[in-house]
């Protein structure tokens, strides 16, 4: 094994030791509970949030796209960076108001409550699974490539080693997920990306020189239509590129465990702010590094390895290996949470609802683990025999999600008539169109991005479907009208609302309404 492989093993062992030490410490404490997730302070929390956002896509997919198409790739970054803004300003206000009134804790629960049918949750969950496995597959390929560089073994063998490490980690290595290990990892990754970014920036002589040099190689690198004007005049493709990440996020499955703090916590706010600033920075840097790669390593055989190659070119080998180890473990922790979510959704929303209603908890855990194992095996087969690009997989995954969920979300607050049949048609129609459009490459024939095609079909599905089936109930119509009211709060006040208190707020509201009703009755 190469020296880099040894560094990787030492890295993983060090993380393990940190994880073990902290979990030992917390289980020894008499007043603190296991899994309680105590507040860690803004710096650690922010860094932990950052490392979960870092994935194989960020390190490999994004720079490869910029390397291939030039500045056109930044369309995707714009959508990614603006995602939360779209969520907040376009849909946000009404949807959040309605979500509060419905007492929903997650987006899928929101849809189920708004459209008043359990099938909405089940179909939504199944579509989420497609996303999760496609995205996991992208991470697997990234893991295989990172391992191949670290160990010097061929890609296929590295892939099997990488995925095996991930599966063992997911099923048995819970200690590594302790926040402090994420903190250490975060520091290495942030230092690495910032370091590579700064050095590459100096090497290419700043953005202006980068653009001049790119223009000299091929002026179309600077075009908004992509290298060789590949997407010239295709607004459908550009619009799809911008929308894909901003909308896809809304369909992300949320299998979050609710927490209740038993002491006052005053650190969360700062963490969110730090996290948001970092996010904006990290969304654009990988794309810029891809552009720098065109100048610095034009002959690279695999553009997905640009950041790694730049690390080996600009830094001493030891640090590059350390960074690559951090990338590998970022991939591991991303995969870990995706696989756990997929396993939980499949075992709870599909197996327990349809196949075995009286399944014991132990059986569902077993089913969930088998799903993870099955997903792993399928992932290995796809990644070895027909590895798609990491970027392609990420776009496909987010596209499927966006197509399934955008129309139902918009209709939930803007259409009184929208009902569960419409919602189901929109979700199934949108997601299926995206899958067919992508797999048959209909974009080349029609000039329409799969995302936009899916959106059209989803919209038609909602309009036609809502003509059939039960109409929305009176209580939903009342909530619909209430959610149209203008918010009474300032933006800052609104942003700090604790969404996890939605069920309590709903129950207190009901209680007070009942109380004032009985007071009125006693006076009349």
């Amino acid at each position: 094994m190469s020296l880099d492989g040894v560094i990787f093993i030492i890295y993983i062992l060090t993380l393990l030791m940190i994880g073990l030490w902290f979990s030992r410490k917390s289980s020894e404490s008499s007043e603190q509970y296991l899994l309680g997730g105590r507040s860690l302070g803004p710096a650690v929390t922010a860094m932990t949030m950052q490392t979960t956002a870092m994935s194989g896509y960020m390190f490999m997919g994004a720079p490869a796209l910029a390397f291939q198409y030039g500045w056109y790739a930044v369309w995707y970054a714009i959508g990614d960076a603006g995602g939360s803004i779209v969520n907040l300003s376009v849909l946000g206000k009404r949807m959040r108001r309605m979500s509060e009134l419905l007492g929903a804790l997650s987006p899928i629960e929101y849809l189920e409550k708004r459209f008043e049918h359990a099938s909405v949750r089940v179909v939504g969950s199944i579509i989420s699974i497609v996303f999760l496995f496609a995205y996991v597959c992208a991470q697997f390929i990234a893991a295989g490539k990172a391992m191949a560089t670290l160990t010097g073994f061929p890609y296929e063998m590295s892939l099997i080693i990488g995925i095996s490490v991930i599966i063992i980690y997911t099923v048995a290595g819970g200690y590594l997920a302790v926040a402090y290990t994420a903190f250490v990892q975060g520091i290495i990754m942030v230092a690495g990306v910032v370091g590579i970014g700064v050095l590459a920036y100096i090497h290419v002589g700043g953005l202006t020189s980068l653009n001049t040099a790119l223009g000299n190689i091929d002026p179309t690198y600077l075009s908004i239509w992509g290298k060789d004007l590949a997407f010239y005049g295709q607004w459908g493709v550009v619009l799809g590129a911008i929308l894909i990440f901003s909308i896809g996020y809304m369909g992300l499955p949320h299998v979050v465990v609710r927490h209740m703090s038993m002491q006052s916590t005053k650190t969360v706010k700062g963490a969110i702010l730090i996290g948001a600033i970092w996010n904006q920075f990290f969304i654009f840097v990988p794309y810029i590094l891809g552009l720098a790669g065109i100048l610095l390593i034009p002959t690279i055989s695999d553009p997905e390895m640009i950041i790694t190659e730049l690390a080996y070119t600009l830094f001493p080998g030891f640090f590059a290996a350390l960074l690559l180890s951090a990338v590998m473990s970022a991939v591991m922790s991303t995969c870990d949470s995706l696989l756990i979510q997929a396993g939980t959704i499949l075992s709870r929303d599909v197996y327990q609802r349809f196949i075995n209603k009286n399944a014991k908890e132990k059986t569902t855990v077993l089913v969930s683990r088998l799903c993870i194992l099955g997903g792993g095996i399928v992932g290995i087969v796809v990644a070895i025999f027909e590895p798609p690009s990491i970027f392609g997989l990420a776009v496909f995954a987010f596209g499927t999600l966006g197509n399934a969920f955008l129309v139902p979300y918009v209709a939930s607050v803007y259409s009184k008539k929208a009902n569960y049949i419409g919602c189901l048609c929109a979700m199934i129609g949108g997601a299926t169109t995206n899958i067919i459009w992508t797999s048959m490459d209909l974009e080349a024939v029609t000039g329409l991005h799969p995302f936009l095609a899916g959106l059209l079909v989803s919209l038609i599905g909602m309009i036609i479907g809502s003509r059939f089936g039960r109409k929305p109930s009176q209580s939903i119509l009342t909530i619909f009208e209430q959610s149209k009211n203008k918010r009474s709060f300032s933006t800052q006040f609104d942003q700090n609302i604790a969404r996890s208190l939605a069920p309590e707020a709903k129950n207190i509201s009901k209680f007070l309404a009942k109380e004032s009703g009985s007071v009125r009755n006693s006076f009349s």
């Binding site: 073990l20 296991l34 209740m260 002491q263 908890e361």
Partner: protein, 161 residues
């Protein structure tokens, strides 16, 4: 007079007022009523095999109205006192139901957050019904009228009604 188990508020009226007004200085906020919200507190012993043996205590709360579970961080300090002039929400979930819900919730949370090689054994250690204090605040803005807000008197987090 019947006694209830509750938590000592960490945020008094003045602090809540100050906290809410920091986000919107022009709004007028009034904090008048305290509401007591019922939860079951359940403590479990969990043991499983992971890289090392995983043994310890996990605790959660079950909302005694909606049945929602929430993992908690540290051992709460309860006090026993009579109800003074607070509004108190009636319980809708029985202790037995709460125990069943909690066991399921703890099991899922444990397998999701700390992964084990073996299936964990979860045994219930103690159960208690307690009331968490919430402040009911009236939030008035000149631009768009008034709204009611609840503020968790322990954590300081808030949510509109």
């Amino acid at each position: 007079m019947s006694l209830i188990l509750t938590q000592e508020p960490q945020f008094v009226q003045q602090e809540v007022l100050k906290g809410l007004q920091q986000y919107d200085k022009r709004a007028s906020v009034q904090v008048n009523t305290m509401i007591l919200y019922p939860y079951y507190f359940l403590e479990f012993e969990v043991s499983a095999k992971s890289l090392l043996k995983f043994n310890g205590k996990i605790a959660c709360t079950i909302d005694a109205i909606s049945g929602q579970g929430a993992i908690i961080d540290v051992q709460p300090e309860f006090i026993q006192r009579p109800i003074v002039d607070e509004k108190i929400l009636p319980i809708e979930i029985s202790e037995k139901e709460a125990e069943q819900l909690a066991e399921k919730f703890i099991f899922q949370a444990a397998t999701q957050k700390a992964k084990f090689i073996t299936i964990p054994t979860v045994t219930i250690h103690s159960t208690a019904l307690f009331y968490r204090p919430f402040w009911l605040a009236e939030y008035n803005s000149k631009v768009s009228g008034g709204r009611e807000v609840i503020v968790d008197a322990i954590s300081g987090s808030y949510h509109p009604l």
